[in-house]
Structure formats: C-alpha cells, structure tokens
C-alpha cells in the first residue's frame, strides 16, 4: 500500500498526463464529469460523489463509428481505432464493477467485440473508494462494496487527508512505486475504515430469492402498478453503468456505420417491420428492464446486472426508486399468495 499526500495528487496526475491521456472527475456546470487532464488547464478535482455520466462511455461511447463506407469499391471497411494509452482516475467501485460485468457481454468466446476490447486494453483504471456513501447508493445490497476491487487496477482510500493506494497489478505498481509505502499499522487502519464504512450501509432490498420472485410474478399486475408513472425516457438506461444495449445505423452523409446507445424503454426498441411490437406498453418495457437486470443477468453470468450506483434513483424525472420497486415485488408476491 502506498501513500500520497492529498496536495500531491494534482501534480501526480499532471506528470502522468505526459505518458497517458489522463481523465479525472472535474466540475462542469453543476455536476462532475471525466475530463482530460492537461497542464494548460487548472485542475480542480470534483469531490461530488459520482459523475453524472458513467465511465462506461470510455469503452462503449454513446456514438461510435464501426465501419466506414468506401464508395470507390462499394464496400464497408473496418474502422477499428486503437486509442492512445489512457488512465481513468477516481472511478468509483460501482462503476468499475460495472465495466467488469460488461466485459462478459463484449468479450465472449464466440464473438469478440474489437471496439470494446481495444479500449479496455488501452486503459488503466484507478479507483477512488467511497468514504461517505450517498443515501441513494446501494452497492452492498447487490454484491459490491464502497471499496470493492472488481474492475480496478488500483484503489485509493482517503484517510485523514492522505490517499492510501492499493495496487493490484504491475501496471499500477509501476505508476506508484516512487511513493512512500504505508506501515503495517496504517494498512490495518485503512482496512478497518473500509470495513466499517461498508458495514454502515443499509440493505436496500432482499436479493435472496429476488430472481425467483420476479420470474413468478412475470404476468402479474405488479408491473402495471410500478410503471404507471414511468415516462418511458432513457435517463435510467443512459446513465446506468451496466446498461449496454445499442442500435446500429448507417449515416449516409458521413459514409459511416455507427453504433449508438439505445434503450429498452423506448417504444420503437423492439418494433418489428410487420408493425407488431412485442412490448407495446410501458408495462412490458419496465418489466424487461427490471427482469434483465435482476433475473436474466443472473442466468447469463450468475451476477446481478446492477452495481448500486444510484444514478437511476437520483435522476429519474418522476422519482421512481428501483429499490422501492423491488421491495414492492416481495409484498406483491405475498399478496398474491394470500388471496
């Protein structure tokens, strides 16, 4: 474990920006966003809890050119860019775990997605643990924690004005080995703080039996009830670090085939050419979203497809809270059984 004094971190990031493209959370308007660190710009690290836009955008950009059309030979050609080596600093463990979950989608045995993989291979992710989890955070409920290592190359824990860094591989060891090492006492102290922060978080909803419960109430009125106020916009899905659905379109004027984020909450998402829509109302679409995250992800890789970042709770225009929706599902099942 290494120690960096708080007032040295900005210089460290600036030094690193000579070798990599370094991105760190900085203030934009009223929120924070990952922006590139550059020596010409003053760097003020944002201390707001989490960026509004999730860092999945570094690996699955909202709009990404996949292929270019060569009119001379009337052929689509590969356009797989290999980005410059880059470093993401200050990624919260929930977002990092989400990136690791998305690896299971994009890097499968049968089909390897070169766009995702190239960006992953070119990126070092340094996490920042959460000393003061928000009331909308629920990472511990879904198998994560405010100091989880999944998806991270290193994790920083801030204690008493100093940053304690745990490195998990050679890449980050190299980056930090010029800093002083923490003593055994200090290490123990940091781990204690991590554990106590983690255990201080409440359970937002029961996950044992959640999948079976949702599977059982698939046809019930529960979905109509919880989706009645849903607007059907894309805020929850676009800001979600584990949502990955995309659309592929041809942009004729720029001779490109592009992939764009898409959302199962839009009506035309599964609209078929014949006019039939398997998910015609908000009920089916909300059901698809929740079932995908809390049931189908479990079928695919044995993990819940949600890392508890809380963005959907904070930014839903009508105040829908996924934690309350899932708690209600249990009551619904009990009600159905008792009737």
């Amino acid at each position: 474990m290494y120690i960096i004094e708080n007032n040295k971190i900005i210089q460290t990031l600036l030094d690193w920006s000579a070798k990599f493209d370094v991105f760190a959370p900085q203030q934009v308007e009223n929120y924070s966003q990952y922006l590139q660190v550059s020596p010409d710009k003053e760097l003020i690290l944002s201390n707001i809890h989490n960026t509004r836009f999730p860092p999945k955008a570094f690996f699955l950009p909202q709009s990404e050119v996949m292929l270019k059309y060569n009119a001379n030979i009337n052929k689509l050609e590969e356009y797989v860019s290999i980005p410059k080596q880059r470093l993401l600093f200050g990624v919260r463990p929930c977002d990092a775990k989400a990136i690791k979950l998305l690896d299971t989608v994009f890097c499968t045995e049968e089909y390897h997605d070169p766009y995702w993989k190239n960006k992953r291979d070119a990126t070092i992710i340094i996490g920042m643990g959460c000393n003061d989890p928000c009331q909308t955070c629920f990472c511990t409920t879904v198998g994560g924690s405010p100091f989880n290592h999944d998806g991270l190359d290193a994790l920083i824990t801030e204690v008493d004005g100093a940053l304690f860094v745990e490195t998990f591989n050679e890449k980050t060891n190299e980056l930090f080995n010029s800093f002083s090492k923490a003593t055994k006492e200090q290490e123990k102290h940091v781990h204690l703080i991590q554990k106590s922060t983690e255990s201080g978080m409440n359970k937002a909803f029961e996950t044992k039996g959640l999948k079976q419960n949702l599977d059982q109430i698939f046809e019930s009125e529960y979905w109509t009830q919880i989706s009645e106020s849903c607007l059907g916009c894309g805020v929850c899905t676009f800001l979600c670090p584990t949502c990955f659905c995309f659309d592929i379109v041809d942009e004729i004027y720029r001779n490109q085939r592009v992939r764009n984020w898409d959302t199962c909450m839009f009506r035309i998402y599964s609209q078929e050419a014949s006019g039939h829509n398997p998910r015609p109302t908000r009920k089916e679409r909300t059901r698809q979203r929740l079932m995908h995250k809390f049931s189908y992800w479990l079928d695919h890789v044995g993990e819940i497809g949600c890392t508890g970042c809380g963005r959907c709770v904070r930014y839903c225009p009508v105040g829908l809270d996924i934690r309350a929706m899932l708690r209600t599902s249990y009551e619904f099942e009990r009600e159905v059984v008792n009737v």
């Binding site: 509004r52 106020s229 894309g234 805020v235 800001l239 764009n260 225009p317 009508v318 105040g319």
Partner: protein, 317 residues
C-alpha cells in the same frame, strides 16, 4: 400547505367514494428524499400516501393522453398544469366531461437542483412553512426564502391560478407581472446572432438524447416522434451537433402556441440543459403577433393549428 393537503385528501376521498372518477392523479410520498412521485389513486386506502408540497415538480397533464378517452380522470391542477390540460382538450386528447379538476393556486415549484447546488447532494429532509423552506444536509438545518429556490419558469410565472378547475381548494393568486417574462425573452433576443448561437450550442452540447424533456412534456404525446422516423430521417439518432441541434429546435417549434412554460422539460433533464428560453421566445411571439396565450381556453385553437378565412394570405403566391 398541510392545510391544502388535507383538503385535497378529503376531496379525492369524496370523489372515489362517490365513484365520480375512475382514477385520481396527484402526488405521493417520496421513496428517496425530496422526490415525491406522481400517483394514481383508485381507492381511498391508498390516500395515506398522498403528498402535496413545493417539490411536486411534474406536470401531471402529461399522463392524460395515456388513458383511454372513456376513463374518468380526476387530477390536481396548478397554474401551468391547468393550461396544459386545456391545451390537451383543444387537441382532443381527453374529453372535458371525463375530467374533474381540483384546482390549487400555485406558489411555485421548488427546483431540487437549486437546493443541491446551494447545500450539497445529501439533503435528507425538507419542510416548508409559508415562505420559509428548511432542509437538513448532513445533520445541519439550513433555511431559505422560498423564492430563492423556485424553478426559473416559476420566477416569471404570469398565471399561477388554475383557469379551469371544477373546485378550488384555496383563493386564487394574483396574476404575475408580464414584464418578468418579457425581460427573460428580451435578454436572449438582445444578444447578437453569434452570441445566441454560442449559447444554444453550449447548452445543446451536453444533450444525451435521452428524450426526458419530450416524455415529461404534456404536449409531446405523438405516438411516433419525428426523431423516430426512418424515412425521411429528419434528425439523426447519432449524437452529433447537427442531430442534437435539430432535435432541440424542431421540438421547440412543435411547441409553439402549445407550450405553457411549465418548465417540466428542464426539471427532467439529467444534464441540466436550459431549453425554456426557446419556447418562451416562441410563446412570447404568439402573444405579440396573435394575442394568444396557450391553454387559457379549452376551445380556442392555437394559431398554428387553425385556419380562418380572414387570415392574411401574404404567403400565398
């Protein structure tokens, strides 16, 4: 406000007991702090969840087109909301006889984002008494004057009282000063063309095309929005300045004479984009050129949706 809430609860109770409505649309208590939600009451037992305060930020008229026309809907309406209801009635989105409107004159919607910007993210509780709002952030109580926290649209609101309520739960509030909105519009209009474009570009740059603005707006109820058209493709779905600019501008134009300046679009936006400056300008032009204010009457068509034989025909060659 508590007084109003109790009156509201009693009225909804009466409507449900006497089977005068099939569903009553209002707000219910928050699941996460400071975020009361739209609610759809169908029996009086559910009324324990009823909420009504300055944080009830959604325009409930948005839900009207989602119900079949035979559904008898009761709903709470404030100022801009009541005008949105009228605008929807004009466009035949729900028959007036199947609506029961409970009017509450509005002292303005509190912008949750303003609270967060002033005190921080972890606000755990909220209360308001008359003009004083107090919030608790990290255990500390902080008080504000209500006006400091109002959403920008509410700061220049001219019509705070419902225009079409079947019953009013409080005395109407006086109309606002039209100079307020004129000042807003002129401050945008008086920028030169480059400045205006720079401002528009700066705001639109953050857009992530989530369409929360569209879905939160009561007047955006088209079953197929122009952005979803494939042939012709009016606006690309790829997030580029061209596509995003087209989205914002065309949506504003589609709102002309229909928008009631409720600001629900801005409140819904997750990227804090300003957009009412566009619709305010267009609405102001409607007033200036045609003396038309959206939603004041449930029968009068907006100028751009109607045709009259006396219309000037300068554009006809």
């Amino acid at each position: 406000m508590l007084d109003i809430k109790t009156k509201l609860q009693n009225e909804i109770s009466r409507l449900l007991d006497e089977n005068l409505v099939d569903v009553f649309i209002a707000f219910k208590k928050e699941n996460s702090p400071l975020r009361p939600q739209p609610a759809f009451f169908r029996n009086t037992k559910e009324l324990a969840e009823l909420e009504y305060n300055g944080l009830c930020q959604n325009n409930l008229a948005n839900y009207l087109p989602k119900y079949p026309k035979e559904t008898r809907i009761g709903m709470v309406v404030r100022g801009c909301e009541s005008r949105s209801v009228n605008a929807l009635i004009v466009e035949k989105q729900h028959p007036r006889q199947n609506l029961y409107l409970v009017g509450i004159p509005c002292s303005g919607i509190i912008d949750l984002k303003k609270i967060i910007n002033k005190v921080g993210e972890e606000v755990t509780s909220f209360s308001e008494v008359e003009e004083i709002v107090s919030v608790i952030h990290k255990g500390q109580e902080i008080k504000f004057n209500r006006r400091e926290l109002l959403h920008d649209s509410c700061l220049c609101c001219i019509y705070p009282s419902p225009v079409n309520a079947d019953i009013m739960l409080a005395d109407p509030l006086p109309e606002g000063d039209p100079a307020l909105i004129r000042k807003e519009v002129e401050s945008f209009q008086n920028m030169n063309r480059n400045e205006r474009y720079a401002w528009f570009r700066q705001e639109a740059e953050r857009c992530i095309r989530c369409y929360a603005c569209r879905e939160a707006c009561p007047m955006c109820y088209c079953s197929e929005c122009f952005v979803d058209h494939g042939t012709p493709r009016w606006s690309e779905s790829t997030v580029t300045p061209a596509g995003t600019h087209a989205w914002h501008i065309i949506r504003a134009f589609h709102q002309t004479g229909r928008c009631t300046s409720c600001g629900a679009c801005e409140r819904a936006c997750p990227m804090d984009i300003k957009m009412t400056y566009l619709t305010n300008k267009l609405n102001y032009d409607m007033y200036d050129m045609y003396e038309f204010v959206s939603g004041m009457d449930e029968k009068i068509q907006p100028p751009f949706a109607s045709f009259n034989m006396d219309d000037k025909k300068r554009f006809v060659l």
